[in-house]
């Protein structure tokens, strides 16, 4: 049994699985149920001046029958009085002293507002604070959430204001609705943040009802953009986490968020530099008990890898994530179809023929049986055939390591030297 506990900038939890600040952490009742189910921590639904929510708030994309491939919401921060939330936080912390409870906060970008709420919340006892600079809808129209999260100066300033009074670790939650997330991540570091968490939700319009021509969802015939999350956003989130993790000047711990649905996703985020992960959509889709497999799966994985602690995973893949110009141009992979496993659906053939590099042949063997074969010399190693193949192991991408590695940057630098050389000669 590996040690699953993690320590995010001083916030300790029995495992890396936290519930993100969202509907699942709206009340003490819910958070206590979550802790009973096994969640290691919870970021309380964002506290601030209470709001009024609209009815008809969530929507989701279904892909080929798979429900909740992506999830969208137009719900705002907590609509319950601050005192009620604080009382429930106190009760919950008393019952679960070893679990992490972090308060998510969002107020107007004013120093006194931040000071006031930080003091109130810390007074009842939380393990940390998370500044919500991410929510893309509603609150942003009032200058909060992603509206301040998109401006590095505002991120830095507000983080600084919080740090002026905060006694617990401060996590800054970043919006993905920005060209370069490292700009705001760096601003958070400059403001004194102890940690960053990302990503918040992505601006989205879930859909249009092709029968009524209303937006999905609609509120009395009108719609507005929401925040997108769930499995579909995972690759976007993972990249943003990785960009922060490999940035030399962003060297505070990261809490990874975005489409994490199982222990494998969690491992990926940790390998890419997250100290822990926050989950919402998966719990909303299946209930709190999905954490059981997350814990069990992670534990088994660590045992299989011979790792004693979950924290040993953190950042192991970060150094492998680089600029395109640093990739070896001489490395090659080529597809190979395993006739023993191939079921002859021809999906690889048609995808290659129509949309890639036309290097799979349909052939007939001596017994009249049809089979598929890759002309490896013509294969560029795009992976498409192996991606569309429905059978594991039917298509292998065979590696041909280069004898001499040569990256684009090295090549350009060599070419530059040659040019200079020529000039010298001439």
């Amino acid at each position: 049994m590996a040690d699953l506990s993690v320590n995010l900038a001083g916030i300790k939890s029995p495992n890396p699985f936290w519930l993100a600040s969202a509907p699942p952490t709206n009340s003490g009742y819910q958070v206590q149920r979550a802790f009973e189910a096994g969640w290691g921590g919870a970021v309380w639904k964002t506290l601030g001046d209470p709001v009024i929510n609209v009815s008809s708030r969530f929507s989701a994309s279904t892909f080929n029958g798979q429900k909740v491939a992506g999830f969208n919401n137009i719900e705002l921060i907590t609509d319950r009085p601050l005192e009620v939330n604080l009382e429930e936080i106190y009760e919950t912390k008393k019952k679960f002293p070893n679990h992490a409870i972090v308060a998510s906060l969002m107020v107007e970008p004013k120093q006194e507002k931040w000071h006031e709420i930080v003091k109130k919340v810390e007074a009842i006892g939380v393990d940390g604070l998370e500044l919500n600079f991410g929510c893309p809808h509603g609150m942003a129209e009032r200058g909060m959430g992603s509206a301040s999260g998109q401006v590095p100066e505002l991120v830095e300033k507000q983080t600084y204001w919080v740090k002026e009074v905060a006694e617990t670790p401060v996590i800054v939650k970043l919006t993905p609705n920005i060209t370069d997330v490292t700009a705001t991540a760096y601003a958070a570091v400059q403001g004194g943040a102890d940690s960053i968490s990302l990503i918040n939700t992505i601006n989205s319009l879930m859909g249009v009802d092709i029968h009524s021509w209303n937006t999905i969802p609609h509120v009395s015939g009108k719609g507005t953009h929401g925040g997108y999350c769930g499995p579909a956003v995972k690759p976007i989130a993972l990249n943003m986490v990785a960009e922060c993790a490999r940035h030399p000047e962003i060297n505070i711990p990261i809490s990874g968020i975005g489409g994490i649905s199982n222990w494998q996703d969690a491992v990926e985020f940790m390998l890419m530099g997250s100290t822990n992960v926050q989950v919402c959509t998966a719990a909303m889709h299946h209930g709190f008990r999905i954490v059981e497999d997350m814990i069990d799966g992670l534990n088994n994985y660590l045992d299989e890898k011979g790792l004693a602690r979950a924290m040993d995973l953190i950042g192991q893949t970060v150094s492998k994530y680089q600029n395109w110009g640093d990739l070896d141009l001489n490395y090659k992979v080529a597809a190979r179809i395993n006739p023993e496993k191939c079921i002859n659906c021809n999906k690889c053939y048609i995808s290659c023929e129509d949309t890639s590099h036309q290097c799979i042949d349909r052939l007939i063997d001596a017994n009249g049986k049809s089979y598929l074969k890759v002309r490896e010399d013509d294969c560029v190693g795009c992976n498409l055939c192996s991606i569309v193949c429905p059978v594991d192991g039917a298509i292998d991408m065979i590696e041909y390591p280069s004898e001499v590695a040569m990256t684009w940057n090295e090549r350009q630098s060599l070419l530059g030297k040659m040019t200079i050389g020529e000039e010298t000669v001439s």
Binding site: G65, C345, N346
Partner: protein, 452 residues
């Protein structure tokens, strides 16, 4: 199903016993299954379908909620696609070819096809149109699957088409010969209606050779297509065949589809002779009619049986008993002329015959008697030799001589398709789906000839 053994059947139970056994897929079930389809390129299922239905295409359309397009894909390739979804031996055709057989479970193509065509039946949509008129007339003799399929295609190509159908309704075996609990008559009649809607004139109760002469057809039409299928079950050639209680399997099944269900079989002991799909149909109809004991006797063994494996399973589940290597030799009656006993002889397999199967030969002194009330013969179907000869066409024991490319008989003006041109049915029954395809091809051949 309620059987006679448990308690006495009521008229309501009897009726229920003949309802379609298999329920339609539920909408979610269909979409889940459709989403499992890989959408193979040049898919083996499509190549395995005699009518070449673009299976991946119709399933993809189903998954996107385009049921109309899905139904159109199916019925475009196969005008009797709703019937075929119920009666095709899918495990030997499309589903047998599904690539997922190797790694998972094959897609339930037949059930999906049934779901899509059910949608078409439930929604009054026009899926096809007749073509630009060509001013040519085609007569089709026989309104079974081959005839209907040809008529539909000929209409789409603009020809004027008249079907001459001897029975009260068109549809052939689909309407009269396939048990209701697998194929309700309404399905077949809906397919007939679709053909009629395109402007095909279907003259029912009109027997060629009796109500209208072959000569008239030859004179009044530019081409004649013979799709008369096959006839009744031949006699066994043993003593006692005229006793009350001896039935022709095809007639027996037809009765269950055309007449009020009778209570006369409740509690009766029945023996069906033969082990093809028609024998299974008759035996399962008997069980559902309340017969207390139903046996199928066959002179060969399970190995040589021509019934599809799934039909065999179905019969066993219904409670039909099978007696292999048993040949009837005499039907014995009581004083009222009613069947009382069946004398049989035990057989054993000898040397292979010309069909390659081991010939059954009687075991000496092995005669035995079985008490029985009903005997049904299901030993194949006779040929319409009289009609073929009335048209003056060459044939071989009732099997029409046919050019397999032009679908022309020995008379250039006369074409043929379906069971009437099939060879020996010793190796399994001719399929509805094959008849449909042949009808299509004959239609294209006729169109080609008439367009010259």
């Amino acid at each position: 199903m309620k059987s006679a053994e448990s308690e006495l059947l009521t008229a309501v139970d009897l009726k229920r016993n003949f309802f379609e056994v298999k329920q339609d897929m539920k909408p979610k079930e269909a979409i889940d299954e459709a989403n499992r389809c890989l959408y193979c390129y040049d898919a083996p299922c499509m190549n395995a379908c005699p009518t070449g239905i673009d299976v991946p295409s119709f399933i993809k359309k189903m998954a996107s909620g385009n049921l109309k397009g899905s139904a159109r894909d199916i019925l475009d390739a196969n005008p009797v696609g709703a019937t075929c979804s119920r009666v095709c031996p899918t495990s030997e055709l499309c589903e047998g070819a599904c690539v997922l057989n190797d790694v998972s479970m094959p897609i339930r193509i037949g059930d999906l096809q049934r779901h899509a065509t059910n949608w078409a039946m439930d929604h009054d949509v026009d899926l096809f149109e007749s073509g630009v008129p060509t001013n040519t007339k085609v007569a089709i003799v026989g309104g079974g699957p081959a005839g209907l399929s040809a008529a539909r295609e000929l209409r789409r190509l603009g020809h004027e088409v008249t079907i001459f159908e001897a029975k009260e309704k068109a549809g052939g075996l689909d309407t009269y010969g396939i048990v209701s609990f697998r194929l309700p008559q309404s399905v077949s009649l809906w397919e007939v209606e679709q053909v009629e809607k395109l402007g095909v004139d279907i003259r029912t109760n009109c027997t060629v050779g009796k109500d209208i002469s072959p000569e008239t057809l030859k004179n009044d039409f530019d081409a004649v297509l013979i799709t008369v299928g096959m006839g009744q079950v031949p006699k066994l050639g043993i003593e006692g065949e005229d006793l009350t209680g001896v039935y022709d399997a095809i007639q027996f099944v037809e009765n269950t589809k055309t007449k009020p269900l009778t209570e006369q079989f409740i509690g009766k002991r029945a023996i069906v002779i033969g082990a093809g799909n028609t024998a299974i149909d008759a035996a399962t109809c008997l069980i559902r009619s309340g017969a207390s004991h139903v046996k199928i006797i066959y002179r060969r063994t399970e190995e040589e049986m021509t019934a599809y494996p799934f039909e065999f399973e179905f019969a066993k589940q219904d409670g039909v008993e099978f007696r292999w290597l048993t040949q009837p030799t005499k039907i014995m009656g009581d004083e009222n002329g009613h069947v009382k006993q069946l004398m049989c002889v035990q057989m054993e397999l000898g040397q292979p015959d010309e069909s390659g199967r081991r010939r059954p030969v009687p075991v000496q002194d092995s005669s035995f008697l079985m008490d029985v009330d009903i005997v049904v013969r299901a030993i194949g179907q006779s040929r319409h030799i009289d009609l073929i000869e009335a048209f003056g066409l060459n044939h071989d024991s009732g099997i029409l001589q046919l050019n397999d490319k032009t679908y022309q008989t020995s008379n250039d003006q006369i074409f043929a398709a379906g069971d009437v041109v099939y060879g020996s049915t010793e190796y399994g029954d001719a399929m509805v789906v094959s008849a449909a395809e042949q009808g299509k091809r004959a239609a294209y051949a006729i169109d080609k000839k008439l367009s010259c």
